[in-house]
């Protein structure tokens, strides 16, 4: 409370000095204490990124001679150049974007079909189906690595990006369906009755009513799914073995050396790899926040 006192005391004085006092008093100035507290916290949160940036712009000899934690005494963009050319960061970014876009679109399309059917139609055992789909998500991926690896091998799509998309879709679809099911069930019945009176069939209702109304939850899920799939490493390493098909996460791992790592290259690669997720985050900020609340207000 005492923190608020100085601006509150200052405000009437400012009002009195004005030649024509207005009826509405100006808004009391916001307390500066929020910023005083948040600026150091923000800097603390940013410090790892600044550290990585410092490493990325140093030359290898500077890092080797003075240690990883020292302040930069050299400036070189060699790290970025090496990461982009020899490290194959660009190629693997392309793979990552391709896999992410395909997997997000496919999994949201399929799970919105499933959620529509499960939420609006009287399908026998629909609760069981939904819970079974969700139960798949409760299994830790680690215990599925060997089966997934041999199944993709057996059906002849091992070591392809298709396999990675299929695995990502299969693994994500349970959760997306569950969330969309909750959302679609809460849509008011009257809308559907009105549509049916207007002669819309189940397909028409889905395209013209359910999908547009589900846009907020679809956007939230798309934002979350994009970061999850883009940042995935474990499935990529399980399914793929050709270096040219590696997504960015696996390629970053490859930048590290067996005995000696060129830390400037690794750091530069990591910064480049973070750019797409950062863009997605800034574009979908609102959806991210609502995405965190997805399922909280069924």
């Amino acid at each position: 409370m005492s923190a608020l006192a100085p601006p509150a005391a200052g405000a009437p004085a400012a009002v009195r000095d004005r030649p024509a006092p207005r009826l509405r008093r100006p808004k009391p100035a916001r307390s500066p204490w929020l910023h005083v507290a948040m600026v150091p916290v923000t800097l603390l949160w940013l410090s790892p990124i600044v550290f990585v940036l410092f490493v990325a712009i140093r030359s290898y000899d500077d890092i080797a001679g003075r240690g990883l934690g020292a302040f930069p005494a050299s400036f070189s963009l060699d790290g970025f150049a090496t990461a982009l050319t020899e490290g194959g960061v660009l190629r693997s970014l392309g793979n990552s974007v391709l896999v992410t876009v395909c997997a997000v679109v496919a999994s949201l399309a399929l799970s919105s079909f499933a959620a529509y059917a499960l939420s609006r139609f009287d399908i026998p055992f629909r609760r069981t189906i939904l819970l079974t789909m969700l139960a798949g998500n409760l299994l830790p991926p680690q215990i599925l690595l060997v089966p997934v690896s041999s199944i993709t091998e057996a059906i002849g799509i091992g070591d392809t990006l298709t396999a990675l998309v299929v695995v990502q879709v299969g693994f994500g679809i349970g959760f997306y369906t569950f969330v969309l099911h909750g959302f679609m069930r809460s849509l008011p019945n009257e809308v559907f009755e009105a549509a049916r009176l207007d002669g819309a069939g189940p397909g028409g209702i889905f395209w013209r009513i359910v999908l547009p109304l589900s846009r907020p939850s679809l956007a939230a899920l798309a934002a979350l799914a994009t970061t999850w799939i883009f940042n995935d490493l474990i499935w990529a390493m399980t399914v793929l073995r050709t270096e040219a098909k590696f997504p960015i996460t696996a390629a970053l791992l490859n930048l590290q050396g067996g005995f000696a790592s060129a830390w400037n290259v690794v750091a530069a690669g990591a910064l480049i790899a973070a750019v797409p997720t950062a863009i997605v985050f800034f574009l979908f900020q609102k959806q991210f926040v609502s995405g965190l609340l997805v399922g909280a207000n069924k």
Binding site: G65, P212, L253, N254, A260
Partner: protein
Amino acid sequence: MSKRTTTYKRALTRRELLAGGMTLGAASLLAACVGTTSGGSGGGGGGTSSGLITLQNSIQDADPKAALEALVKAYPGGDVTMNSVATEQFRAQLTNYLRSGDSPEVLSWYAGSVARSYAEEGLLLDVSSLWEGDGACAGYSDALRSLSSDAAGKQIFVPTSYYWWSVFYKKSAFEKWGVEPPTTWDEFHALCENLSGQGIVPLTNGLSSTPWMASGWFDYLDLRINGAQYHRELLAGEHAFNDPEVVAVMEEYKRLIPYFDKNAASYTAQDAATPVAQDKSAMYLVGAFVSGYFPEDQRDDLDFFSVPVINDSVPTAEEAPTDGFFAAARSDNHQGALDLLSYLASADSQQQYIEQSKSSNLPTSPDVDTTSFSPLVQKGIELLNNTEEITQFFNRDSSDALQATADTALTKFLAQPDSMKSILDEWQTAAEGVFAS
């Protein structure tokens, strides 16, 4: 009323547009997705059947990787797809690679018991044709031949390079401090005392994410006190880790603990070289790959001496981990694999690889002209030529599973040297579990 209808209409078209756009976008994206991936897999599939060769390797350090890439690109026998995978991932995936239906033709890995265990499962191609007549490996030393053979005496591995372990230091730093490399074990201790007195940390090590570095000193002390024969038997499970022989090794290790950098537990193997580069720390028992840890202008300043003799009744021994390639038994291009191995093992290829990789690797082929190599590498060749016994390293002479028990035991020992006896008992129990499985 009419106004209402128009808004309704407009809203409807907007929705239709949205839905249509979404379908169109989704369809084209999916099509693009399927198109590209099937194209990619078609290329890969066609590759293996038309005689293309895949080389799966775990060579990660920038210069050696570039050297191998250049070598593979110049391969006259056809196109080779080279896949580099981070070493730890490679280790985890290796069984998958070898078991898969269309496994890569040639894979990089380690000689010795590791390769042998894959051969026992029938996963490796018999490469003994390269070791006979005028094959690329026919002239290799007998030590390498036995290292590359499976239990039945067939060769299943093609060694292409190896490196040595030693105590590395900077010549300029030793000059500055007025000290000389020691020749006896007592001199070594005196040197450590002297350096400590000058405020310099005598020994560095990096044990945080590379705890196996602690095994370097264990191996060397065991080789110097009990000899290479005992060391091999110990790692094969024929002796116990709580035997009096091992206790003697640990007593000697304990004497060294005060000389180690206090931060060793928080350094990685790479970080640990920085104090040496800055002349804050003097010596580092490490593999020759250490040259890559130093700034380029300090690499010519590096020198090394072998860990001095402790017990002169045992034969001299050095650690020289051997790297190379093997071929998968389940690949569909056996001839292509043998041809590529032959190319990689040839003296010319080894020479080119060692010169370009800038690392301190030694050739396995006796026909390589070594006169153009750096003085450090020449000295390394001499070291290994003059030693009576060669071992590899703890994990390569035993298994990754036994290495894990050593990491646990030695990390604990370095933190609490006084509970050495109970740590050795625990180590033996853990090792018995590894040998039983």
